[in-house]
Symmetry: C2
Subunit: 600 residues, 2 copies
């Protein structure tokens, strides 16, 4: 059976030493986030997730969710009880709005906890995870009445939320939605249509489910400009807040999926269900993006989370499993064979994972801080800068983070040899579960186009120029330290490739937009490499400074320096190859007519 | 439901136009392999696999194999009937020894058929596939008596074979085997021990199962030098060839796996089973390698096979599914959305798959021809050269072929968006099934060490120098043609990276062998890229020549030229990045003590 231990030491390193959260004590909600408190939350949260949720992960995979004839859905054994404990402990409310009962702590802490939840049990974590997006949308766009009616119970966890976007004919292309919202005399809407792939669409965890549903009002144009967002509760809510009659929304079936079996992926039927508009008619896309951006960051976290838990299990196996003799000399000559962690190719896979995981964790928590700053920083410039950064990096965190997170899980499975292919070992589940993160909340191809087509050119390239400035600054400062110089030089080279690729887009994509589409996915990966390289430079600098003044925890900081070097040596070279692919353009890629792809 | 059509046009292109099989008419077994005959076999074999086996692929995944209380195993619905038809049609005997009832046709044809079988139904194809390895070992090392007793029925398919290597404590490291073989007065051996992960270890397809089992005789040294190979039939075979009593070998359990559910992966218990030695005592490793090399080529074929079938399904979906509007201008302005094949990022994934599949098919069939030539070429030099080439390329075909084959399946799943994650679509099964190929018959890390530690330095580097000469020659000839020059230049650059990496190993691996281990996997990938680049150069040359003289099938050859260009543009750049990773050496990779990998 797989095991899990929350990487709390590393989380605390990022929060306290890298981001220096304490220095933001002037922001609302941060005043209480002293290192003592954040350490206590991180440690307790990590312990809780590992103890309560991790043991249910294989159970969830094996049992899956069951839909009954009446349309109700039962979650796997133990999920309901664990969810009750989750609400009682208040884990879901950590960084949510204090106005509606949340604890109002920094988003950084909520995201740290999300990692532990998703490592312990991806399928379980999705239930409260989706609610976060729904809450964001209601907070930003909902009327005061809707906020008062829904947010307190959603933040306490009493009610869970969903996001209803996809329909059979409308996935990425929301302009194709057919679900209709007919205005009623009482100001509500009657919602009719079918939604598919609705995660947590129906279940037995919470007493109500608050569906956020995209639909079209009469006369809306046939494009994404015509969509509106509605709240459609499973049970109507009475004036006094108690639950009323059942709404006309039901689960038609649940999907048989590759993974995340413990989460109910539903076909949802809306048969004249009563809905309340969130914001204005035909302004649904903006509300949807608020919900979506929160969700995308959360999906990036899932990429890291599956990489981390699969890494931990592979490390244990590699330390214990003995096969072959180390080529550079026996490690344990008294035994018949050495532990496989002595073999360079096993090390390669483990170091790749370690370098990705720790770099990604730093980037994600840095990103979460930008979310906080974009709302709470005292001056407008700082808020805008933070907003620019998180808008720019969200598709990178989601796209690069989940592509690589899956790769890491696959490599960790490889460490186990044949045992990795067996269900009981548990690592093949990590591969199957992590695979979805590359697909949902916008496929990684969509993330790449969001990055290159929307985020790069926004405001005349203001965000990407600011990003270059930040990374340039870190490189310049690191190059002054002989210990960090070799790492900085490699990150500098990768950054140079990104700048060249950016310039190539500017020069070649306007006249031929396919050149942008043909290189977008590669560009997203270059930017992922540069972003992690930047984080590794910052982490190496902190580690070098600690070691210079002396520390009790020497091994931790020395390990950071080794891993930073490994990252620089083994991740940055790909940036050059990716740039060359981008510069090849779209001609050969787009030359064939569709029929020529068919097998003859 | 997924569909499959055997890529017979492309197979015939490789056999007739690229390899010019007809020109080897002087070799035994090739005299009959005229284009007419090979075309007929390829077409009929492809049709048969697609019609009979492909419809059973999802059935096999869903039902799996069932072990009953008496230790017997039932295969999924339809497998038994399909296997009977397979034997009746003689598909298994295509390229096997005519001395024992095989058709003796070129190995090239047998391998072409193996691709179709594995694309149609990977789990099914493993049953006869493993028998090929067992037959090779008996043919090469068995006594005349064993050959006469077992080969005719194994070649006809009446009996199936297995390979019993792995034990709980002994995977890659066969020196750790504990299974014992005690010599008996009658010249047989009594075999005791437990084998795990035995594919097709027990089933209901054939009336007997011929296990090839590695075990140690008394006093054998504790290393792979001490192992011997035995035939252990499920039912003893009487003097007259009829089946006698049940041998003391049984299936203890079957594994729950990530994929290939239709194949029974067994724990096999040997409780004093009667065994016959194949070759001499303690010479089992050589026999095992004969069996293994045949199997490794077959596993490389599986990598291609899963990539091909997943590609075909993704193409169909990409042509039919409509989402979004093409950025370079609408393809079908009359509809609400364009087919997703119009989007560059979808093209990128499809072209990556197409370029890999066709390049890999050429490399594999070329490899199969080397197997033929290594046995049948009239002069010793030609036999040795062919043997050098296939020995060198086998780990590349297995390791690179299955790493990339899996990547392609994952990307093809991505083309389907959310639908790709659903079981019914079928593509997630291709991902799960293809994953095993990176693991079994020696993990890809083992392949990389076989390539770099054994095959590169063998005979003073004779094989790799010959490989460089072959690729150099092709590049020089292609550079003379202005149409091919841009492709040739890119392949030349990649070859330059491989030569540099080879030299770096020579200069840096002797003193510090970890430098070899640290770069081996990357080197295997560089060599995969160069090998496919070489094949693409050869294919482009054939296509250009056809187009120059005029052809009815212009689109086919023009598509080859476009795909060759795409390969050169999008695959070769990675060679440079991989070389830089190799040249980073093993220092950072090996710096940490094993405990420092643990999560704190």
């Amino acid at each position: 059976m797989p095991t899990y231990k929350a990487p709390t030491r590393d989380t605390r390193f990022v929060i306290n030493e890298l981001l220096e959260l304490e220095s933001y004590g002037n922001l609302p909600g941060f005043e209480n986030a002293t290192p003592d408190l954040t350490d206590a939350i991180v440690e307790e949260g990590g312990r809780w997730a590992a103890e309560v949720l991790a043991p249910l992960n294989q159970v969830g995979d094996k049992e899956g969710c069951v839909r009954h004839d009446d349309g109700s859905v039962t979650t796997p054994t133990g999920f309901k009880d664990a969810y009750r404990k989750y609400c009682e402990a208040g884990w879901g409310a950590l960084s949510l709005s204090p106005e509606y009962g949340g604890q109002g702590l920094p988003h950084v802490l909520g995201i740290a906890m999300e990692e532990y939840l998703a490592s312990s049990n991806h399928a379980f974590a999705m239930y409260p995870g989706l609610t976060v997006g729904a809450v964001s949308a209601i907070l930003a766009m909902g009327s005061q009445e809707l906020k008062d009616r829904y947010l307190p119970n959603m933040i306490s966890g009493k009610w869970l939320g969903t996001m209803n976007l996809t329909e059979p004919q409308a996935g990425t292309d929301l302009g194709l939605l057919k679900t209709k919202a007919e205005p009623q005399a009482d100001g509500t809407y009657s919602i009719r249509g079918t939604k598919i792939f609705i995660s947590a669409g129906e279940h037995d965890l919470s007493e109500n489910i608050v569906h956020l549903v995209l639909a079209k009002t009469p006369g809306a144009p046939e494009s994404s400009k015509g969509i509106s967002l509605f709240i459609v509760p499973k049970f109507l809510v009475n004036e006094d807040g108690s639950l009323g009659e059942r709404n006309a929304v039901s689960c038609g079936s649940i999907e048989h999926k590759m993974g995340i079996h413990g989460n109910a992926t539903c076909v949802m039927n809306y048969d004249g269900a009563k809905g309340w508009i969130v914001g204005e008619e035909m302004k649904g896309l903006a509300a949807m993006f608020i919900m979506m951006n929160a969700a995308r960051l959360g999906v990036g976290v899932q990429g890291l989370a599956q990489a981390e838990v699969s890494y931990q299990n592979a490390v244990t196996y590699a330390q214990e499993r003995r096969q072959g003799k180390a080529i550079a000399g026996r490690v344990d000559p008294s035994a018949g064979a050495d532990p496989i962690i002595a073999h360079p190719d096993v090390r390669r896979m483990l170091m790749d994972a370690k370098a990705f995981n720790e770099g990604m964790r730093a980037l994600i928590l840095w990103g979460a801080l930008q979310v906080d700053l974009s709302h709470k920083a005292p001056d407008e410039t700082a808020r805008q800068e933070a907003d620019d950064m998180i808008s720019l990096l969200t598709p990178v965190i989601k796209g690069y983070g989940t592509d690589k997170g899956f790769d890491v899980a696959v490599n960790m499975q490889q460490v186990f040899g044949g045992h990795g292919y067996i269900w009981e070992t548990g690592v093949e589940q990590f591969v199957r579960d992590s695979r979805i993160a590359m697909i949902y909340e916008g496929t990684n191809g969509v993330q790449a186009m969001d990055l290159c087509g929307r985020k790069l050119p926004a405001n005349g390239g203001r965000a990407i120029q600011e990003f270059f400035k930040l990374v340039d600054g870190e490189i310049a400062s690191a190059k002054a330290d002989p210990q960090l110089e070799p790492i900085a030089s490699r990150v500098e080279k990768a950054l140079g490739e990104q700048k060249a690729a950016t310039l190539w887009f500017v020069q070649n994509a306007l006249a031929a937009p396919n050149n942008l589409g043909a290189g977008a996915h590669h560009y997203m990966h270059i930017m992922g490499i540069v972003s992690l390289g930047w984080m590794w430079l910052r982490m190496a600098k902190v580690a070098a400074a600690k070691l210079a003044v002396g520390t009790d925890d020497k091994a931790f900081y020395e390990t950071k320096l080794v891993t930073a070097r490994y990252f620089a040596e083994r991740f940055t070279p790909d940036a050059g190859a990716l740039r060359r692919k981008i510069e090849a353009g779209s001609e050969a890629m787009m030359a064939l007519t569709p029929d020529l792809f068919e097998t003859a």
